[in-house]
Symmetry: C2
Subunit: 298 residues, 2 copies
């Protein structure tokens, strides 16, 4: 295993994705570099009030330390006392047009080492789509991209990671999925470092082609106050998931992570209202009845 | 101890507060009654798009069961196997005018019983204020009301519960208090049931006079887009606290509580933006430099 390849891959991925997104939007992403007192740091690339993206970002982070934090070794005592290194790229994009879905992608690696012992390592990642108004064509495109991306890595991999995604991005307090899913995996080390790194690269590399064709198709669909209002309401679910259920977000906020980079995932404008339900037969209801349920899209 | 007095007090308190708020706003609160399959239920009174209140509510709940939930007995094994009863009133009000502060109040009781053993019981409660533009006069009025309310219960009670409030309503990931505090207490049983119930009644009964004079004074202050925008941004902190740090909210959402009643506390319109800071010398900066720090207001 050659962990020296991890950082160039992740930083290069961030650069390539930001280039593609800037070309699409026409507005440059802000670049914000930060360092972490305990070791490491990151580069957060953010767009706000773009021509197409209302808010979003692509964040690279590289965090390391001489001793695994206690909280991370409670369930894995073999990691206690090891130096560690975690790298990754996270992406969340909130388009302004309510007919264009929000997308999330994350790829990450973790390595814990000590003298005279094999390194412990794993990868995690995935991408998922959260429409406000659903389109079957878009859902099929996104899920087909996920499936093609994972096909070289085993016959059942896509199916397993799709289910993992459906299970993970679920708001238990609403009994409702966050969106229409995609793929998700964690603690991956089966098949060796080269395979797992290759799988993770495949996921990261596929984001642009999985997402941009969808928003290219929808970006000029006209909308009004009704659609913007529903979008703001639905974004409340995104906030609820990220702050109540997402392990990465909670762990980051509760353990002294870089707040602004973590909360880059939150939407720009959000509304809450009491016990609201869409009108029967409306386009808004269709999101709930046809899209917010786990389904085989391809 | 006479636990039969708890329910009439809490439901009466809810009615009295809602009456006062309806008189102030001019719009009626919606009434939503619900039952809980495992026992109990509640009445949630909600206002949205009122003349003064943009969103808010006063919720009564009464939850009981034959066996304490496991999660609640981890730290108190003496409660295992007891039947329990929890009652309370929670209030959160978000005015539309950015010069008028958001207020939160909660009073609650808990009793766990079994045959041939003394009942275990405690009270909790408090109230706190979250301005978006601070006014010393308002802060003094609110804290003076808290102090007068608790004065009959011991010389150091107000000071202790004020500090508890400052400690509890704190966003660690922002290193920032949620607002200007007030009072907070939990697990209260010192001095016996009668005293603790009386103290809790004093807190509940004081809300209207602690809060309404403040918003009466500020409700006609003119404001524009700038103030509304800052208000929406600051409300993001309210969401972050409630969803990331508030034990009651998290426990409720993760354990099958009634979602809409719990999330009645969230503001109607909220904005997030990356790494934003107020202009030096601005009215917005004054909130951070003069109000968002624990301080002796009276």
């Amino acid at each position: 295993m050659d962990t020296a390849l991890l950082k160039p891959y992740f930083t290069g991925l961030q650069d390539r994705i930001v280039d593609s997104l800037e070309k699409f939007d026409g507005k440059q992403f802000r670049r914000d570099e930060w360092t972490r007192p305990a070791g490491g740091g990151g580069v957060t690339r953010v767009i706000e009030e773009g021509n197409f993206f209302e808010r979003g970002g692509v964040a690279f982070s590289h965090v390391m330390g001489e001793n695994m934090p206690l909280s991370a070794t409670a369930h894995r005592p073999e990691l206690a006392g090891r130096r560690f290194e975690a790298l990754g790229v996270s992406l969340v994009l909130h388009p302004r047009n309510p007919y264009c879905p929000t997308v999330h992608m994350n790829v990450r690696s973790f390595v814990a080492e000590k003298e005279n012992a094999d390194p412990v390592w794993w990868f995690g990642g995935g991408m998922d789509l959260t429409p406000c108004y659903g389109f079957e064509e878009d859902a099929r495109h996104f899920h087909q991209a996920c499936k093609s991306t994972l096909a070289p890595f085993g016959a059942d991999v896509h199916q397993r990671y799709k289910k993992w995604c459906d299970d993970y991005f679920f708001l238990k307090h609403r009994n409702e999925p966050r969106g229409i899913g995609g793929v998700f995996y964690d603690d991956l080390n089966e098949g060796g470092f080269e395979r797992c790194f290759a799988l993770t690269r495949a996921v990261g590399d596929s984001l642009v082609d999985a997402y941009l064709p969808i928003v290219e198709r929808r970006k000029d669909v006209p909308y009004g106050e009704r659609e913007r209002d529903f979008q703001a309401y639905r974004r409340g679910r995104y906030v609820e998931f990220n702050l109540v259920w997402d392990r990465g977000t909670l762990f980051g906020l509760q353990s002294g992570g870089r707040t602004e980079s973590i909360l880059m995932s939150l939407p720009p404008v959000v509304k809450w209202r009491y016990d609201w339900h869409p009108e029967p037969g409306s386009a808004e209801e269709k999101l709930y009845t046809e899209f917010l349920k786990p389904r085989d899209w391809v």
